[in-house]
């Protein structure tokens, strides 16, 4: 029998979290942080090993399955397909980077740096669990459990109104979780009536004949939870409030990793378990998605606070991801999956570099900046690169995913694409106007003498920038694992790509 690699992968950071938390207080200094970073790097190495051993193709790999609660049909079941693999990789890449960038952010927090690093590791382990779970019940448990570390990370570290922000985050998430719970229960009821008896395994639920009405109700339950998580208009307002107060590192883990659970869940659960209901809901979801794209972008343009601005750009980007998912064609779905990864990288870069900026100035208000390029050119340059990746400049990784989603939308309907494409103009405005107001012009008195980035800070951003550029020119390794998963999703929702209207034969005539 082979080792349960995924269990080891998710337990490793959780073990690290416990170790860091239990380190005696007298062993102060950087030791807890070093131990924490060590565990996150070990996790990264193990995950890279898993990725290397992963064979691009259909089906789940590294699958584990143990019956957990027989009565409900719940299993401890893990496994990775291309979608899960890319998101696990995103999680394990970002955690050590965030730790390095947050080296000094934890000191002043409620539970010290030790606490922050312990919570980060716990979140990492639970997130891996979410992306690897192949049982709905297990997924639900991980899904809710991730709220705990995030709650403490927001409530303990960050701005003056962080407790309110944490509560708001928790209430929104719990509300979504509860709605989903109803659907989870519903799945039990439906599967209990079937021949095989109750089951929560996704693979078995996908084969289940769920009645139209029941399927639609349950779809709505899952979708609302995922839409809050993602977040989509009109249930997005918790996000800017949270990122405004949270530390940059927390914001990265929240937006780049945790929010992906929403869009991941839409593919894994909404489309694959409720294909009929997904097709039924498509027009409404697409309208909401396009609205999110434009609304988030306009709100970003109007934001006076850097952290809130980035949060709203994510509302816009998540609109693109949801759009790609629900147009249900190869380009859209592959684009959405790739978008999840790329958005994680670019938003992480943006949050971290503006985090450096904000902590130096002691303010996140845009009007408190000006002319930073003159005093801190490296910081300005990296912020521009992060911003350009956010606006999906060709040559940087988000371009390919955004173009794929746009083209997928065009395949679905030119009108949808015509509205969504306005997002690329708005993105140029929110990124470059932010840059113009903070980095250019005469030096603002409050930033005179601001020191440029140090080696540790550049070191945290360098791997992100390198990945963004490398994947901008060669994203195919990721697409090679994503494409088979997309084919699987499409066969599950019984959709296939339309043929081109002009083919070789016609042109000859």
């Amino acid at each position: 029998m082979t080792l349960p690699w995924l269990t080891i992968l998710l337990l490793l950071p959780i073990l690290g979290s416990v170790v860091v938390a239990l380190l005696p207080a007298r062993l102060g200094g950087p030791l807890p942080k070093l131990v924490g970073l060590g565990f996150s790097v070990l996790t990264l190495v193990l995950a890279i090993g898993i990725a290397v051993a992963y064979q691009p193709g259909t089906g789940l790999q590294f699958a584990e399955e143990v019956t957990w609660i027989d009565l409900f049909g719940a299993h401890y079941a893990l496994g990775l397909d291309g979608i899960g693999l890319t998101l696990v990789l995103l999680t394990v890449i970002l955690t050590p980077i965030v730790m390095l960038a947050s080296w000094e952010d934890g000191e002043t927090g409620r539970w010290g740096a030790k606490g922050l690093f312990a919570w980060m590791l716990a979140l990492e382990g639970l997130s891996i669990g979410v992306f690897a779970a192949t049982d709905v019940f297990l997924f639900y448990v991980f899904f809710e459990a991730t709220l705990i570390p995030v709650y403490f990370m927001v409530a303990g570290y960050g701005g003056p109104r962080r407790v309110q922000a944490a509560v708001k985050f928790l209430l929104y998430s719990l509300a979504g979780g509860l709605v989903m719970l109803a659907s989870v229960i519903g799945l039990y009821v439906v599967s209990a009536d079937s021949e095989g008896g109750p089951t929560y395994l996704v693979s078995e639920l996908a084969q289940l004949d769920i009645g139209t009405a029941a399927g639609r109700w349950m779809f709505v339950g899952f979708f609302i939870a995922f839409a809050i998580k993602a977040p989509m208009f009109p249930v997005h307002t918790w996000l800017p409030d949270t990122t405004e107060q949270a530390t940059p590192g927390t914001s990265v883990l929240l937006v780049s990793v945790l929010d992906k659970i929403g869009t991941f869940g839409m593919i894994r659960f909404c489309l694959e378990i409720f294909p009929e209901a997904s097709r039924w809901a498509t027009p409404v979801v697409i309208v909401l998605a396009v609205f999110s794209i434009l609304y988030g972008a306009l709100m970003a343009i109007g934001s006076q606070n850097i952290s809130r601005l980035i949060a709203y750009t994510s509302v816009s980007h998540f609109g693109f991801i949801v759009l790609g998912i629900f147009v249900m064609n190869s380009q859209g779905l592959a684009g959405a999956n790739l978008y999840m990864f790329n958005h994680g990288l670019s938003t992480a870069a943006l949050f971290l570099v503006t985090g450096y900026l904000i902590s130096r100035r002691g303010s996140a208000r845009i009007e408190d900046f000006g002319g930073v390029e003159k005093v801190a050119p490296v910081l300005a340059g990296l912020m521009l690169v992060a911003g350009l990746s956010s606006l999906a400049l060709p040559g940087l990784s988000p371009f390919v995913s955004e173009l794929l989603v746009m083209v997928g939308a065009f395949v679905y309907s030119p009108w949808v694409a015509a509205f969504a494409v306005l997002g690329i103009v708005l993105a140029a405005i929110y990124v470059l106007w932010l840059y113009q107001r903070t980095m250019t012009g005469p030096v603002h008195e409050g930033v005179a003498g601001m020191r440029d980035l140090g080696l540790r800070e550049i070191g945290a951003l360098a791997p992100l920038v390198a990945l963004i550029v490398a994947l901008g020119f060669y994203p195919q390794p990721l697409l090679d694992v994503i494409n088979p998963a997309v084919d699987h999703t499409m066969s599950q929702v019984e959709k296939s790509d339309p043929r081109p209207t002009v083919t070789e034969g016609e042109a000859q005539e």
Binding site: V163, L432, T440, G441, P500
Partner: protein, 650 residues
């Protein structure tokens, strides 16, 4: 790869529409890769190397582009050595991305069209790099300037060498980025920072066309590579071809500053003058013309799209000329002129197979003479403490003899003085336009007269008449490193017409643009040439009467005609944008901010006040969150039970 032996006959024209059918690049693969790699690596070293590279950065940057020019020559000679049938070279680098049916390769296509662009980009590019060594000598960020210039050259080469529309997109936005960085190079100036953002945003509006065009091509043909699309366009409906053509035209309008997306170009003059010469005159702004000519296999199947192209070009050529007449800022006058001259090229490319080659011909001659004049303007600014107001010039021909003489060559070329390069290229466009459409032709003829007027005005105000210099300004000739490129470009401005000898450029481009039938003019071409020269002479004479015989006031007169006022205000393009887009947009975002806070957030959370109250309460009760969590779980359990009951009953 789709390959057909027979060219497809267009239904309406009867002429054959060439397909893109590249053969292996063979031994030319090496220079084909190097031509892009040299400036790309140069940019990477200069931008990542930091201060260590300050001392020699400008030399490395210049060497990279000179090397690239050598590769372009190597490629060009290699191409000439091949038979006409084998003058399309393809080189696939790697698969950029593939999903479903759609595969996009990062591939290169080297054919007569890209060959000419390569020579223009690297040739003029190298001269402007040399010039910048002197022009930017006292700028502490000179090394970074050269890094951006190298980045631009690499991106522009990607644009004209890509073998797929998505690859073009890569270069397209790459040059947009370089343009953004260089317009805002002096970003401590708020006006420069604002102008750079404006240029990028308006270009993004154009990019909508490219994005949707790619989408429509994928839906229609299942591919976006030139060779496959060109083999399939004959099978598509006219409506689809018109739609693709108009989307590509939108993209071209953004990049080439054509109406209605023209307003960024005059603001772009905030950039250092070598940038205006290279990017905003000779190369990048002509990318729209490249896109249209490259896509001839699209435009040949839609009369409507071609007409739209020609009309946009004509409108812009008149608008640009009008603006050029009214500006006192030497760079903005030249920018208006650039708009106008690109309008000629767009007009020519809208005339279809009869005009494509002349569009490219004018693009090349304009690249030389306009770069020449922009660099000349830079030289004048160099000698007058960066003054751009022509009302503060005068009598510079003695103080700056080399600048004056070289500028004069550019002047004679642009107005179309017989024998100079612009005479041949503009004449051909007007002649073809008259043959294809009298209305457009007359407009183009009128534009030539106005060109004579505003360029003569510029010459007189700058180099002749009495001194109107600012106190303390002592104009002096620029150093050799700056005048050498001027001399080289002046020579090209004079001799560019040689490309038309024996119809060489038309024949050379025929494998890309197709071969036009003889057009029939009611009068012999020599008469048309004479007519053009006459109209130009009238414009020159009028300018001479108005500005050569009278004193030029140092302050711009305020009591001016509506025509002048409108021209000074760039025909109110900015006001139109502000009224229609910027103003309402600002109101919308402000309104949405309130809506988000009050309605969306408030609605979703119950009321904001109760949240505030709740969190206050939670904060007082230290670990209140645990209780709230427990409470929520309890509520959840209750909901679950309820759900179970409901579902079981149902």
């Amino acid at each position: 790869m789709i390959s057909t032996a027979i060219d497809v006959l267009a239904a309406e024209g009867g002429h054959s529409i060439p397909l893109v059918e590249p053969t292996s690049a063979g031994s030319l693969a090496l220079p084909l890769v190097l031509v892009i790699a040299l400036p790309a690596v140069g940019a990477a070293i200069l931008l990542l190397g930091g201060r260590r590279t300050d001392a020699w950065g400008h030399l490395l940057g210049t060497a990279a582009v000179v090397g690239s020019f050598v590769c372009s020559l190597w490629l060009f000679l290699g191409l000439l050595g091949r038979g006409e049938e084998e003058r399309q070279l393809g080189l696939d680098l790697w698969t950029w991305f593939a999903t479903g049916r759609w595969e996009v390769k990062l591939g290169l296509l080297y054919d007569p069209l890209s060959a000419l662009f390569l020579l223009l980009i690297t040739g003029v590019g190298a001269l402007i790099h040399v010039y910048s060594i002197g022009y930017m000598e006292h700028d502490v960020r000179r090394r970074r300037f050269f890094g951006y210039l190298n980045l631009f050259v690499a991106a522009m080469l990607v644009l004209v060498l890509s073998s797929d529309y998505v690859g073009v997109f890569l270069g397209w936005e790459g040059v947009g980025l370089a343009s953004y960085l260089l317009i805002g190079f002096w970003q401590h100036k708020p006006s420069a920072a604002a102008a750079s953002k404006k240029a990028f945003v308006i270009n993004r509006v154009g990019d909508i066309g490219l994005s949707l065009g790619v989408g429509l091509m994928l839906v229609t043909f299942g591919t976006t590579s030139f060779d496959e699309v060109s083999a399939l366009t004959s099978g598509a409906s006219a409506g689809v071809m018109t739609a693709i053509g108009l989307l590509l035209l939108l993209a071209a309008c953004g990049k080439s500053a054509q109406f209605p997306l023209q307003s960024w170009l005059l603001d772009a003059m905030e950039g250092p003058t070598p940038v205006s010469a290279l990017i905003h005159a000779a190369t990048m702004v002509t990318a729209g013309v490249y896109l249209i000519v490259r896509s001839q296999f699209v435009f040949e199947y839609s009369d409507t799209a071609r007409l739209a192209v020609a009309v946009i070009g004509t409108i812009t050529l008149l608008m640009g000329a009008w603006i050029g007449c009214a500006k006192d800022d030497i760079k903005k006058t030249l920018a208006g002129s650039t708009m106008s001259q690109i309008g000629y090229m767009v007009l020519a490319s809208g005339l279809g197979v009869a005009g494509y080659a002349f569009a490219i011909f004018h693009l090349l001659t304009h690249g030389a003479f306009k770069a020449n004049m922009f660099l000349g303007a830079g030289s004048v600014m160099h000698g007058t403490d960066d003054d751009v107001d022509m009302r503060h010039y005068g009598a510079l021909q003695k103080a700056m003899p080399v600048t004056f003489l070289t500028f004069a060559m550019g002047y004679l070329a642009i107005i179309g003085f017989p024998g100079f390069s612009g005479f041949w290229s503009k004449d051909k466009i007007i002649e073809t336009a008259l043959a294809e459409s009298p209305v457009l032709g007359v407009c183009a003829l009128l534009g030539a007269g106005v060109t004579g007027f505003y360029m003569t005005r510029l010459m007189l105000m700058t180099f002749f008449g009495p001194k109107r210099w600012e106190p303390g300004v002592h104009p002096h000739e620029s150093p050799k490193v700056m005048t050498f490129p001027l001399v080289a470009l002046a020579a090209l401005s004079v001799l560019g017409g040689l490309l038309l000898l024996n119809d060489w450029i038309v024949t050379f481009l025929a494998p890309v643009t197709g071969e036009a039938e003889e057009h029939h003019l009611p009068v012999p071409p020599i008469l048309i040439s004479a007519l053009v020269v006459l109209v130009v002479a009238l414009g020159v004479a009028l300018a001479f009467v108005l500005f050569g015989r009278r004193e030029v006031p140092r302050e711009a007169p305020t009591e001016v005609s509506f025509l002048t006022r409108a021209g000074r205000n760039e025909l109110y393009g900015n006001e139109v944008n502000d009224t229609l887009v910027v103003g309402p947009g600002k109101q919308l975002t402000a309104g949405l901010a309130t809506f988000d806070r009050a309605v969306v957030d408030g609605g979703a959370m119950g009321t904001a006040a109760s949240i505030g109250g709740l969190s206050q309460a939670l904060r007082r009760a230290q670990n209140g969150f645990v209780r709230s969590y427990a409470l929520s779980l309890l509520a959840g359990a209750a909901l679950v039970l309820l759900a179970l009951v409901v579902v079981n009953l149902a």
